[in-house]
Amino acid sequence: MKVTVDARGLACPEPVLLAKKAIEENDEVTVIVDDEIALENIRRLASKTACGFSVTEKEGGVREIALVRTEATGQHPVDSGAITAELSCAVVPKKEMGAVVVILSDNRMGRGDDVLGDILIRSFVHTLLQLKPLPVTIICYNAGVKLAVKASPVLDDLRQLAQAGVDILVCGTCVNYFELGDQIAEGRISNMYDIAETMAGAVRLLRP
């Protein structure tokens, strides 16, 4: 028998469990998925249970996976518990793995001594250029917005980071508070919605 399982929009591990059940009861199964994690989990299922596996890319990130039973399929039964135990249900898609967001919440690094803190932040921002991969976003808020002004000692580095594709968000409220509206020389003025969303979406936050 041949069946189709539409697993679009289902949360991990639902798609792979549906796929597993279907291929146990049918010879050919088409599973429709719309996320990377489901695809990878079903790929693993196929390899574990020795099913034929092929993927067809459709529009909008949708994929049709064809699972076909072979003679070897099911010879080494795998129970659902074992499958789910090995599943990766990470929320973060692969391409964003390691996405680093840097928080510049002050124009100095660390507490204790302002002169030292000034040296450290200059050193820190310069060193960001050498990180691999580069941070995806740098967020400047509170006194951190002073690092994005014309006279900033790290302006040159921020500029190079921006040119390398790093998105630099500068807190609008803070710019307004410090009356630096006409002096911001790098980054784009942003708001708390973007700032909170970016922070929430980060894999790691770096806060010097």
Binding site: V115, L116, I119, R122, S123, P153, Q163
Partner: protein, 75 residues
Amino acid sequence: MREPQEFIVFLFPSVSYVLKAEKILKEQGIVHKLIPVPRHISSDCGVCLRVAVGQQERVAGVLQGRVDWERTVFL
């Protein structure tokens, strides 16, 4: 975008020397940059002053007798 250029770094015995030297370079209007000491030079958590190679003599001249530096390294 700035033209690619060659740099040289001035290394000092301590951070306070770097600060003193930087103050002098600022007064003299010499373009410079305070950067972490590159890893291949030292693994210490230090800072140094980077200037364009062409500025080396001028920097040495203004620092002479005011701030001692340890050595210079081409980047």
